[in-house]
């Protein structure tokens, strides 16, 4: 069981992440003998059989795969109304499809993004767009291969919950949210670039690094 960081604290997770049923036939794609890990943006996440075969717990709060939600809305509608349905999407699924699948995005208490690998950067854009383009205000959770070394970037892109991989320390991961104190560029957590946050030093007042003073000169420091 992975441990959940939410809003800078380690918390008990009361949501169950529903996994897609395994496909009947596991098709492994390979290129030059290597298994293809990443799928192309816009690829289908699941077959009709997988969607139908996905087992959703009968009670409690559930985070459901987007593809399952799209096909089984009627069955889940009462639970959504009760605030007990969240959605998760793969990094290759389109955030626009998720937005289009619910009349009110903010009726979802949580949206999770599944990272197949820590280096699949599409998840960062998904979170950014949910916050800045589509006005989503509730929890955005990182699930899958979530490690502390990507947490600072995730936070800046609008994630506020992280299911840290079960074999890693959530306590140590918490510290990584503070790796940098004053980033250069604007992002979701603070849209202002550094020059709009602070008055910065111009050349006339800068300490020199350029010329090394000759031995008889004092170094300006």
């Amino acid at each position: 069981m992975s441990k959940l960081i939410r809003n800078n604290a380690i918390v008990q997770d009361d949501w169950a992440v529903v996994q897609l049923a395994s496909p009947a036939e596991e098709t492994v794609r390979k290129q030059a003998g290597k298994v293809v890990i990443f799928k192309l943006t816009g690829e289908q996440a699941a077959s009709a059989e997988q969607i139908a075969g996905t087992n959703i717990p009968p009670g409690g709060k559930v985070i459901v795969p987007l593809a399952v939600w799209q096909a089984r809305k009627e069955e889940l509608a009462p639970r959504l109304a009760a605030g007990e349905v969240g959605l998760w999407l793969e990094t290759f699924e389109l955030v626009e499809d998720l937005v289009a699948s619910v009349p009110d995005l903010n009726s979802l208490p949580v949206i999770a993004v599944h990272f197949p690998r820590p280096v699949d950067g599409r998840g960062f854009t998904i979170a950014t767009m949910l916050r800045t383009r589509f006005g989503y205000r509730n929890e955005i959770r990182a699930i899958g291969d979530v490690l502390r070394d990507q947490l600072f970037y995730m936070k800046r892109c609008g994630f506020n919950a992280y299911a840290i991989r079960a074999d890693r320390s959530a306590e140590e991961a918490l510290a990584s949210l503070r790796d940098f104190s004053e980033p250069y560029q604007g992002a979701v957590d603070n849209p202002l670039p550094v020059w709009r946050r602070h008055a910065r030093v111009a050349a006339a007042h800068a300490v020199t690094v350029g010329r090394t003073p000759a031995s008889h000169e004092d170094e300006v420091d």
Binding site: R29, Q31, V36, I37, F38, K39, L40, T41, P118, V119, D120, G121, R122, F124, T125, T128, T132, R133, L147, D149, Q150, F152, Y153, M154, K155, R156, C157, D179, F180, S181, E182, P183, Y184, Q185, G186, A187, P191, L192, P193, V194, W195, R196, H198, R200, V201, A202, A203, A204, A206, V207, T208, V209, G210, R211, T212, A214
Partner: protein, 557 residues
């Protein structure tokens, strides 16, 4: 040059602390090789054939003497006494110990340097014209924009894990010395009809396995929007660029797949959503950053220097050097000087610690304590008084960096190749040295004139072979090293990709092939025609014929 304030310094210091902890966790077995790889790459550390290789950023090629001395110190203490200047205005150490890299980065941070994003699938070091700020044909000094872009792209949270590496180049001169058409994004700065600074945007150029000239997706963008427009391009790429196949993951493949027009349409649609937001560059911020590049106090000098003219007339060696290694300057009485890192018999782009210290001394004495690194792998003193040139030349001769071959055949661009790099198919440095030895007659070299000869040890094209007038590419066939030759490539405003002349050659044949190409040129050229002009006029066939004519049997398929 740009000088850090407390904010810049803290970012670099915090990066060192972060990487020190990541290295500790890796060595303690808490991070797997796969988990550590992207972290070390984004700090410039590759695991290479003999040892790790550490790549240090030289933002847009600008370096202070004090920084160069620090590089010399690192070469002595942590490496084997030398370093390698690369084609991307970076510097590389080939023998650092992985455990000591955090210490190296901490030392670099004391002189405002780092290895941030010099590797990995992120926005890399931004490159520009080595003569920015001094070239007479410059319309806009693009360095302040490059610095603003550097800060914006440093740890950009959304674009730290792109499908593949991402290279941005900027140019503000009439003659494009930054090859902006061969980058993932090329920004061409100019003055529009209203006299305002504007940009043209090139996307999807690049070398590598699938060389491509970029497409211009926007002709006019006011400078204030440089960041938001790049953000729009990167967002479209981050979402739709291929991640399933590393060889097809660069933005050029996406631009090709969609078509430049459709790609541009998607970028425009994305930009429309974010335009005029907080990342719009303000005049105040531009002025602040620009102030660092303007604070030169040039003396008011006459451009007519009789003593210089006398030396020029009396000393042929000096005259040769002036002809090739001294460049025009926009301030009267000043010149820019290229120190050649291509003397015969050494690896192109290499410099020893002692040489680096000597160049730092020359920079202090003659050029405001600053220098530049060019993508041709040479060092430039950009602000030398014309009256100092003779003395500087004499000192450069003593250092070994006065070879008068800038822009000539022996000014070879060359990657580290199979001697060092684990990606390489073949060695490249010995090929460069063999060619330099074949063409060591200076008069003949000057007679051949302008010629870019570029060598890459593999398809990744670090040696820019695609845009060499003569390009040499190392290829692997059944486990042995072969070399494929292209001609007709070009960098600059009329960029082009070279054409393969035919089957590849064994290493010892390459200098002879180059000689044959030159013979064809000498025979065919008209007055004032450069090698590239002749190739463009008469085509590849006559060259091919002369090279393969007598050796059909010996040629290998």
């Amino acid at each position: 040059m740009y000088i850090y304030d407390d904010i810049d310094q803290r970012i670099v210091d915090e990066r060192v602390a972060q990487y020190r902890d990541q290295t500790r966790r890796y060595l303690a077995g808490e991070l797997s090789d796969d988990e550590f790889r992207p972290l070390r790459l984004q700090n410039g550390l590759y695991i290479q054939r003999h040892a790790p290789m550490l790549r240090i950023a030289i933002p847009y090629g600008l370096l202070a003497s004090r920084q160069l001395r620090k590089l010399a110190h690192i070469a002595r203490v942590y490496d084997r006494g030398y370093s390698h200047f690369s084609t991307r205005q970076n510097v590389q150490f080939n023998w650092p110990a992985l455990e000591r890299v955090p210490d190296i980065l901490a030392e670099l941070a004391t002189v405002q340097m780092h290895g941030i994003q010099t590797s990995g699938s992120c926005v890399r070091n931004i490159t520009t014209d080595q003569f920015a700020g001094v070239a007479p044909d410059e319309v806009v000094d693009a360095r302040p924009y490059a610095e603003i872009l550097r800060q914006w792209s440093t740890f950009h949270p959304e674009f730290a894990y792109l499908p593949r590496k991402f290279k941005i180049a900027v140019n503000g001169a009439e003659s494009d010395r930054a090859i902006i058409q061969m980058h993932d994004i090329g920004l061409g700065f100019y003055l529009d009809e209203q006299g305002e600074v504007a940009l043209e945007i090139w996307v999807g150029g690049g070398m590598g396995r699938t060389p491509a000239i970029g497409a211009m997706i926007r002709k006019h963008l006011p400078w204030q929007h440089a960041l938001s427009y790049c953000e729009a391009i990167l967002r479209v790429y981050n979402r739709y660029g291929r991640r399933d196949n590393a060889f097809k993951a660069r933005i050029k493949i996406l631009v090709k797949a969609l078509g430049a027009e459709e790609f541009a349409r998607q970028v425009e649609a994305e930009w429309a959503q974010i335009k005029d937001g907080p990342s719009t560059i303000t005049q105040e911020e531009l002025d602040r950053v620009a102030s660092f590049f303007r604070n030169r106090t040039y003396e008011t000098l006459s451009d007519d220097v009789p003593a210089f003219n006398e030396k020029l007339a009396s000393d042929k060696a000096f005259a040769n050097w002036v002809k090739r290694n001294v460049h025009a300057h926009k301030v009267p009485g000043y010149r820019a000087v290229t120190l050649s890192l291509k003397p015969t018999g050494t690896a192109p782009g290499d410099a020893t610690a002692d040489q680096m210290d000597s160049v730092a001394f020359l920079a202090d004495r003659y050029s405001f304590g600053e220098l530049r690194v060019s993508h041709e792998q040479n060092l430039i003193l950009a602000d030398v008084k014309k009256s100092d040139l003779y003395q500087l030349w004499q000192e450069a001769v003593r250092v070994g960096f006065a070879t008068p071959n800038i822009g000539l055949l022996t000014d070879i661009i060359c990657c580290p190749g199979g001697d060092f790099c684990s990606l390489a198919n073949a060695k490249s440095i010995p090929i460069a040295q063999a060619i330099q030895q074949k063409f060591d007659d200076l008069d003949y070299l000057h007679d051949i004139g302008d010629l870019d000869l570029n060598i890459s040890g593999c398809m990744n094209s670090c040696g820019h072979h695609h845009v060499g007038h003569i390009g040499v590419l190392g290829v692997d066939k059944d486990g042995s090293e072969w070399y494929q030759i292209t001609i007709g490539g070009n960098q600059g405003n009329s960029a082009s990709i070279g054409t393969v002349i035919g089957p590849s050659f064994a290493a010892d044949e390459v200098p002879g092939v180059v000689e044959k190409l030159i013979e064809t040129y000498i025979e065919q050229r008209t007055d004032e025609e450069r090698f590239i002009d002749t190739v463009r006029r008469i085509g590849v066939a006559p060259f091919k014929e002369h090279v393969y004519g007598e050796k059909k049997e010996a040629a290998h398929v």
